[in-house]
Symmetry: C2
Subunit: 283 residues, 2 copies
């Protein structure tokens, strides 16, 4: 039994991602554990209270999830053991059996409201729009209503709060995807289609980032992502987060990493894991 | 008279940054114009309603200000003509003449409360802490109180809402700085100590970012910052924001830019401007 943490409350997109992950790993048994903030989740893995956790790290519209990235380089000794890219599908949720013509208010968190702006303007132009602190709060308010309210939220929220999905995929753009990572004490064995994540601070000299990327170029290692976060020590000093193709057990990657480490004032290996393959997941 | 926009309401750190900028340019006359969202400010410059605007772009703890970066690469034809790095100084603001021993509540936005956690725990351990939507809202509530409330906010907020600064620089860490940029229709003439900002998307090929940085390396151009934002078209496709030392009128930089453009599927020059020099500002 694998205890796995997720960012609650129930019905969030993290909850939905967790269900996809569990579904894709049917040979294992999971116990989902709900936490209300990211720090608690990560510390729970670190102290052994739970075995793994699933955390959002990047969204195709909003960009990096800074809280996750800052936590990954904090004092915890944790590794990324997997990744999952999920389409963010927004749905119009109504109370079971209620009539869509009676809806006088649409509720959700500001972000889904922003992402469904065209839909709301077209179909609910005369209806009040209320912003809530979370999509879950909106779903609960709809569940407790007289059937005159609708929420925008996830499929999981519909199930958890026993709501009907009146319409699916109501978001204005279909390019909304979130990448989640699975965090554990150990990363994943080599599969041949792997990715590795590292974080580092370069020496305070001109061209120092270039020299790091030069090492990857020398070893023919492809970089799929580079993000920077402030080091929080000094303005203009950054911690770079780099994803590269390959596993730490690959000889080339291992040699490149050895060279990179020598050129960094801070270095943390964040794990090797199978690169996400959309075709392996059906959802 | 230069009409300059800032992110209000009055008393924000953007307002404080604007005052520093005006103070540093005493040879010119400015009319500050308050706007309540960033998009409106930028569009006001774009349509000629105002001449320039000051916008936060990067904080030493929170990182990039995504809203500003996304706006800079939107359809507006605007340039960065200056930058300014400001120390974020939090202050305890009380109603004029009130007694600190009577304070039963400390109010502010979540961010300043987080940044003054140690101070609050040490000096106001038995006092209620209330989160407000903005520091300005907190300042107004203190101004309207009976002298039993204190707000955490900027020096400018103290002046605007006629509050006393009971204690200055109460933030737990002194590494809290924000970089602001001045946006206008034209950038700044060459001074010899310049910086340029560009944004680009590389071709969808392995090693394409490396090849761009290689060009800067060939021309001995120093990069001071690289940030990435999602392109919003396709997951895993990024727009890079790069700051380099030099002016577009410098021959080397101009040659490098010509080469970089050829290797990008999207390129936008965001302006050349004098690199900020802490010693020129007294605050």
């Amino acid at each position: 039994m694998i205890k796995i943490g997720f960012l609650g409350p129930k019905g969030t997109f993290s909850h939905e991602a967790l269900e996809i992950y569990i579904d894709a790993n049917r040979d294992k048994e999971f116990i989902p554990c709900e936490y209300l903030n990211m720090k608690d989740i990560l510390y729970a893995v670190d102290c052994g209270e739970i075995d793994e956790s699933i955390l959002p790290i990047e969204n195709s519209i909003e960009g990096a999830v800074n809280a996750t990235m800052d936590l990954l380089i904090s004092k915890v000794q944790l590794q990324i053991k997997g990744e999952l890219i999920m389409n963010i599908s927004e749905n119009l949720l109504i109370k079971k059996g209620s009539d869509i013509n009676n809806i006088s208010m649409v509720l959700s968190h500001s972000q889904p409201i922003g992402q469904c702006r065209d839909y709301i303007n077209t179909k609910f132009s005369k209806v009040a729009v209320k912003h809530t602190a979370s999509t879950t709060e909106a779903a609960i308010e709809v569940a407790n209503s007289k059937g005159d309210k609708a929420a925008i939220g996830s499929r999981v929220a519909a199930r958890v709060y026993s709501l009907d999905i009146y319409e699916s995929d109501i978001q204005d753009s279909d390019n909304n995807q979130t990448r989640f990572v699975i965090i554990s004490k150990e990363d994943f064995k080599r599969t041949g289609k792997d990715k590795s994540s590292i974080a580092f601070t370069t020496e305070d000299k001109p061209g120092s980032l270039y020299r790091i990327l030069d090492i990857f170029n020398l070893w023919d290692i492809n970089m799929t992502r580079i993000e920077s976060r402030p080091s929080k020590n000094k303005f203009g000093e950054y911690i770079f987060f780099v994803d590269i193709l390959g596993h730490r057990d690959d000889e080339d990657l291992s040699n490149a990493i050895t060279m990179v480490k020598r050129k960094c004032s801070f270095f943390k290996f964040l794990g090797s894991y199978p690169a996400f393959d959309l075709n392996e997941y059906n959802y």
